[in-house]
């Protein structure tokens, strides 16, 4: 297990390294005028622009910049933001936004997991009857209709009928984050319900469940002790990844409700050419996604001891 972990982490490290280098090179493809605000572009002469770029080391040959960048990374120095918040360390810029996104994301994920799994269980229990059809209709609707439309519907219903604030404000974060949380949860409820139902139905059709029924175990107990537990194993794999991705926030939801979270930060920083922010975010996202998959595998082993990731003697 230890050897496997080390090998896998080394592999992930290489992936992150390549991704970061790729993004670094991609960002250097933009013309240098993007480094300045419009105001600066108007005021500065060519000479001043050149001086600024030289001082920031942005006119050096790309390989040299790349090497310097690796050196900074090794010292865990992510640099300062240039355009989003001038001169503030990137870690700080991300830190404040990070908290908002994560709170919202974790709340919605918690709601979604509970409601989604309960919905899936009910659907599996009443397969091909009205509750099942209702649930399927919900999942199809949420999956097929573009989120922009369903968010708009939530927004209209929430603000017109329930009188909730339609835009996030930091002065009363409680009520104004209800609608974004509902929107975030809506999609993942459908996901959890869909897969809980699918795995449970697969499990119900297996022979050992029939045996349990023949033995005379009550349905409730079969569902709780056998079906749900076994159906949860494949789901467990996605849990860590979904917890970790809440940190990244949702671009669309946060834009839609003007939440000052992590979601829009990436596009904003690319648009405003804030190199250090972009690079740090990319490193963060790729580390999180790789870590998510890895922790998912670990959790799966914990939930189901029969699963091993390394080859034992005799297995294939």
């Amino acid at each position: 297990m230890f050897k496997y972990t080390v090998k896998r982490l080394a592999q992930s490290f290489i992936t992150v390294f390549i991704v970061v280098t790729l993004v670094f090179l991609l960002m250097r493809m933009l013309p240098t005028d993007y480094y300045f605000t419009e105001e600066q572009l108007m005021k500065f002469t060519e000479q001043q622009k050149n001086d600024q770029l030289l001082a920031a080391g942005l006119l050096d040959p790309v390989p040299e910049q790349l090497l310097r960048f690796y050196g900074q990374l090794l010292r865990l120095d992510f640099g300062e933001s240039r355009r989003i918040q001038n001169g503030v360390p990137v870690v700080k810029v991300i830190g404040t936004k990070f908290e908002i996104s994560m709170k919202m994301g974790l709340t919605s994920l918690g709601i979604a997991v509970v409601i989604g799994i309960v919905m899936g269980i009910i659907q599996a229990q009443y397969k091909n009857r009205i509750p099942d059809h209702l649930g399927t209709a919900y999942t199809i609707f949420v999956n097929a209709v573009p989120p922009l439309v369903s968010y708009s519907l939530v927004l209209i219903f929430g603000s017109r009928v329930l009188g909730l604030p339609s835009i996030y404000s930091s002065r009363n974060p409680g009520p104004s984050s209800i609608l974004p949380i509902v929107c975030l949860a809506m999609l993942s409820i459908a996901w959890w319900a869909l897969w809980t139902r699918r795995y449970m139905i697969d499990e119900i059709n297996k022979d050992y469940i029939k045996l349990a029924r023949i033995k005379g175990l009550p349905t409730k107990k079969i569902m709780r002790k056998h079906v749900l537990r076994n159906a949860f194993v494949p789901l467990a794999q996605y849990l860590p990844a979904s917890i970790l991705t809440t940190v990244g926030g949702s671009l669309l939801v946060e834009r839609f409700f003007s939440v000052p979270g992590m979601g829009p930060l990436l596009t904003d920083s690319i648009h405003r050419y804030d190199l250090n922010v972009v690079q740090t975010l990319v490193i963060m996202y790729s580390v999180l996604s790789i870590l998510g998959v890895f922790l998912g595998d670990v959790l799966m082993i914990v939930v189901d001891p029969r699963i091993t990731l390394t080859n034992k003697g005799g297995t294939r």
Binding site: T15, I18, V19, L22, V23, L26, M27, M29, L30, Y34, I140, F141, N143, A144, V145, P146, P147, L148, V149, S152, L153, L155, I156, S159, R160, S166, L251, L252, R255, F256, L266, T267, I270, H271, V278, V282, Y285, S286, S289
Partner: protein
């Protein structure tokens, strides 16, 4: 069948030449396994059996036809629309069937023109993604030496958030219908190629393919005649689901300002413009939202039904 029985009876009648050698004739050799099974006929029969799917298909076709009719019968032509702020926010009436938008343009022709744009984009992307995805997927799965290369390429493209690519494309190359279509194809083939690759690997070394190879069948024939037919249901499902997927992607990207340019009306652009006003003028949201939902939901369900029908295992 009949001919065969007759010949058999003839043989039995004259017991003397019970075991005479029959002269080889290719037609007769083909006769033995004859049945009037035809793959596409069974697909069609299975599909027609599902009444809901047929109804949805008809609804979809009617809607596409109607979008042309609607543009023809509308009182305004999209290309000659003029901004007129005194006419803004007129609720739907006999002159403006869907009302007017914030700068006083007829909404009816905008909505129908936009749905045509979105449907066109979705179909182009779906077909392009299929061609590229199947070709690369086959090579990826069949040629062992290239497996590592394509897997790395897949990881590389998949690990950098797509939003970075889209932002860079929007900044560096620009925004237009063509660019949008090409860049969506460039990202969407990944999923298709991966699905195809996994299936090709499963079927690649089956005995019948081994036999085919030993008999000297050229590679392209093995791929097209022996392997591809096994993949049809998966390909069709992916193709059908990519249409709502593309429309969703388009609305999201356009909403974020990374999709089509503002002068190409699409459902995403309309929804984006509506975001600021629809709380006061709900009709600005409802018309594009209903149309986009009809397109995506029908296609989602049709796709599922058709893929069930095209799976040979479900054929009688």
């Amino acid at each position: 069948m009949k001919d065969q029985n007759n010949t058999q009876n003839d043989i039995l009648e004259s017991e003397d030449d019970l075991f005479r050698f029959v002269e080889y004739s290719p037609e007769a050799a083909e006769m033995t396994g004859y049945s009037d099974y035809s793959y596409w006929k069974s697909v069609f029969q299975n599909f027609v059996k599902k009444k809901s799917a047929v109804v949805l298909t008809i609804i979809f076709i009617l809607m596409v036809i109607f979008s042309f009719v609607a543009l023809a019968i509308g009182k305004y032509d999209y290309k000659t629309l003029e901004t007129n702020s005194s006419q803004s926010f007129i609720s739907p009436d006999s002159e403006y069937w869907f009302g007017t938008d914030n700068i006083g343009r007829d909404y009816w022709c905008q909505v129908w023109y936009a749905s045509q744009t979105s449907i066109k984009l979705a179909f182009i992307v779906a077909v392009g993604e299929c061609l590229l995805g199947i070709t690369i997927g086959c090579v990826w799965g069949y040629v062992r030496k290239l497996d590592g290369f394509f897997t790395e390429l897949y990881n590389l493209i998949n690990n950098v958030p797509m939003i970075i690519y889209m932002t860079l494309i929007a900044l560096l190359i620009g925004q237009s219908f063509k660019i949008m279509a090409i860049s969506l194809i460039c990202f969407d083939w990944l999923v298709m190629a991966r699905n195809v690759r996994n299936l090709v690997i499963i079927y690649r070394d089956r005995e019948y393919n081994l036999a085919s190879r030993t008999l000297g069948t050229p590679v392209h024939r093995v791929l097209i005649k022996n392997i591809l037919p096994q993949l049809i249901s998966v390909i069709i499902l992916r193709l059908a689901l990519s249409i709502p997927g593309t429309i969703t992607m388009e609305t999201t990207l356009s909403y974020l300002g990374l999709g089509l340019d503002i002068n190409t009306p699409s459902l995403g652009i309309l929804l984006r413009n509506a975001r600021s006003y629809f709380l006061d003028y709900p009709y600005l949201l409802i018309f594009p939202a209903v149309i986009v939902s009809i397109i995506t939901v029908t296609f989602y369900l049709i796709g599922n039904a058709f893929s069930d029908a095209s799976d040979p295992r479900n054929h009688v």
